[in-house]
């Protein structure tokens, strides 16, 4: 089996599972309870939060635990826009966002908010002049993902932040789901950031919204105060402890792991150049993601052919309705290529042997499918 879909989700690290099960067994109290078992669980959550905050170079009070990035994106976008509706109803985003950003924006659009899409340059990066041009007196939020999940284009959060900071009433949210654990993020540039543990070898069902301490948002879930008034519900002690563990492990040997991915990326690119495919990812992309287009073969057909050989890649996000990928189009300006794209996503765990196995089988699949097409 060769797994090359690490951007969709990562396998959970064994140590993270150990932490999760140990906390399930040994920290049974509700962290809101006043007895010693509750206090013990609360102390573990506080220690975990402190560890997460230290790793991300933020304040522990800025961490709000969620079920993952989708909830964090909803919480950030609806939370800010509903809270600050008196300031305005204008939001700026890009065409590269995940559906969990698009959906709350669509909801807000249905109740009168106006959404504009900033232009992208030829590399798929935000056109800063257009961003400046779009900003209005009633703009309240700019939401731009740090890395697009399909192609891997990195946005320059620092430059974007510079433009936004000229307008102190505008909040800057970034879905950093595809960056976290892969590259260091400067959270001081952002008012709000969404993260998910499943992208860095943690458990599914836990993530966080990183929110500047002074920023007030409208909660999505109302209830008791618990760890925060912004997201009620009994804190999931084992998931939170496993979050801290996964993040700590992701930050161990960070640069070495990153270099491993760069090496394996370069190795794969060299091999792909010898096949009948177009490479869509460019120098501005995270090395963990390589997007390619197939020549005359539907990407879903290729996905199934590879699946039969126990090789796992992905095509355009399942929940898209366009006949071509906007993200791929933004870097290729070619609708045909954008309609035949496939994502290969890498990990520091990916080996050259796996790449060799993939390339051998991928080449055979191209030959077989091209042959069938020409019959």
């Amino acid at each position: 089996m060769v797994y090359l879909d690490y951007s969709a989700t990562t396998p959970v690290n064994d140590s993270v599972i150990d932490t999760y099960s140990k906390v399930c067994r040994e920290f049974i109290g509700n962290p809101n309870s006043l007895h010693s078992l509750g206090i013990q669980a609360k102390e573990l959550i506080d220690a975990s939060t402190k560890q997460i905050a230290n790793l991300l170079n933020i304040n522990p009070n800025e961490v709000i635990y969620t079920s993952g990035s989708s909830e964090a994106n909803n919480m950030a976008i609806k939370g800010v826009c509903l809270k600050y509706a008196n300031r305005g109803h204008h939001i700026i985003t890009t065409e590269l966002e995940h559906s969990s950003v698009i959906a709350p924006l669509n909801y807000l659009s249905s109740i009168g908010y106006e959404i504009d899409f900033v232009k992208l340059d030829d590399n798929g990066q935000v056109d800063l002049d257009d961003l400046e041009r779009l900003i209005r007196d009633d703009t309240i939020l700019v939401t731009i993902a740090s890395v697009n999940s399909e192609v891997g284009v990195r946005q320059n959060l620092s430059k974007i932040s510079e433009v936004i900071r000229k307008h102190p009433k505008i909040f800057f949210h970034s879905d950093v789901t595809q960056s976290i654990g892969k590259e260091k993020i400067d959270f001081s540039l952002l008012d709000l950031a969404s993260i998910s543990c499943q992208k860095f070898y943690g458990m599914k069902g836990i993530g966080a919204l990183i929110k500047k301490e002074k920023l007030i948002i409208e909660p999505l879930i109302h209830g008791g105060k618990s760890t925060t008034v912004f997201r009620s519900g009994t804190p999931a002690t084992p998931l939170i402890a496993s979050f801290a563990k996964a993040l700590r492990l992701a930050y161990d040997d960070f640069n070495e792991k990153y270099q491993n991915v760069v090496d394996i990326h370069d190795y794969l690119i060299d091999k792909l150049k010898k096949l009948d495919v177009f490479i869509n990812s460019n120098d501005y992309c995270l090395p963990h993601i390589i997007n390619i287009s197939l020549n005359g073969i539907k990407s879903e057909v290729m996905l199934n052919a590879l699946d039969e050989r126990e090789i796992y890649v992905s095509t355009q996000t399942a929940c898209s309705t366009s006949d071509y990928s906007k993200a791929v189009y933004s870097v290729t300006h070619d609708k045909d290529r954008a309609s035949r794209s496939m994502r290969i996503s890498l990990s520091y765990l990916t080996t050259k042997e796996e790449i060799d196995y993939f390339i051998k089988n991928f080449g055979e699949c191209i030959d077989n499918l091209s042959f069938r097409r020409n019959l």
Binding site: E95, E97, S99, S100, I102, A103, L105, N106, Y107, S109, S110, E114, I115, F117, C319, S320, T321, S322, D323, K326
Partner: protein, 86 residues
């Protein structure tokens, strides 16, 4: 004239097109109906919308006069509206 817009909350092209849909509604007087691809599934399937969203369906006397599929500009939407209205 009845214009039906079929869209989904998670669809980026639908979000982009909200603005031109509003412009059309502001500029012309017609019966505007909005259907959600997921929530109004039974009603939506009557129109055989296909897999690309949004879909704009132009109806008069219960007869489909035309449709537009996918992300469209205001000019394209208006052109179609005027064309079927002739």
């Amino acid at each position: 004239m009845k214009v039906i817009k079929i869209s989904a909350i998670w669809c980026g092209a639908c979000l982009i097109t909200n603005k031109v849909w509003k412009q059309l509604k502001d500029k012309y007087s017609f019966d505007a109906i909005e259907l959600d691809y997921d929530m109004d599934e039974d009603e939506v399937q009557k129109y055989s919308p296909g897999e690309i969203l949004p879909v704009f369906l132009f109806y008069s006397d219960n007869r489909e006069l035309g449709r537009l599929v996918g992300e469209v500009s205001f000019d394209e939407l208006e052109k179609k509206y005027l064309e079927v209205n002739e």
